[in-house]
Symmetry: C2
């Protein structure tokens, strides 16, 4: 069941892009590294799954970036497709 | 059941802090604004719940910041308690 949530779709795209950027890591390899099942990763990449913060953290850490940075990539991707978020400018804190 | 996940505990603290910063918004008020049940918000704040990215996005948007910024606050809080994340330095992209 495809998700209509633009953030989830963008998140899936961001993870797929990172796999390619990190040397075309396979879903299976990322699954072994992160402890998230490869089939579930496939579902996340297609925007069909609603991962928890913990799952996002596992995937982000395996891909070598902070969980917030993974979400920030997804937000930027979603923005390019017309979804705007408040506060995406640099945090003043 | 308290969570042992430092990111979830820090996330809960970040949400609670933001409620106070935003004028001492109650859990009930935040629940009405975000569509997340106030009891569930309480559980998140105590680190007992494992919210999905969608729930985090709802809460973040109601609190006036991007989901990634909420997670970044949680990461900084977790770091202060000894959990380190890769890539928390500013993203070069």
């Amino acid at each position: 069941m495809p998700s209509s949530d633009p953030l989830l779709i963008a998140l899936g795209g961001a993870i797929r892009t990172l796999r390619f950027e990190r040397g075309h890591i396979s879903q299976e390899r990322l699954g072994l590294d992160s402890g998230v099942h490869r089939n579930y990763i496939g579902g996340i990449e297609r925007g069909e799954r609603k991962p928890t913060v913990g799952t996002i953290a596992k995937l982000a850490l395996s891909l070598g970036l902070a969980p917030s940075k993974l979400l920030a990539r997804a937000e930027r991707e979603a923005e390019r497709h017309g979804t705007s978020w408040p506060g995406t400018e640099p945090d003043a804190r």
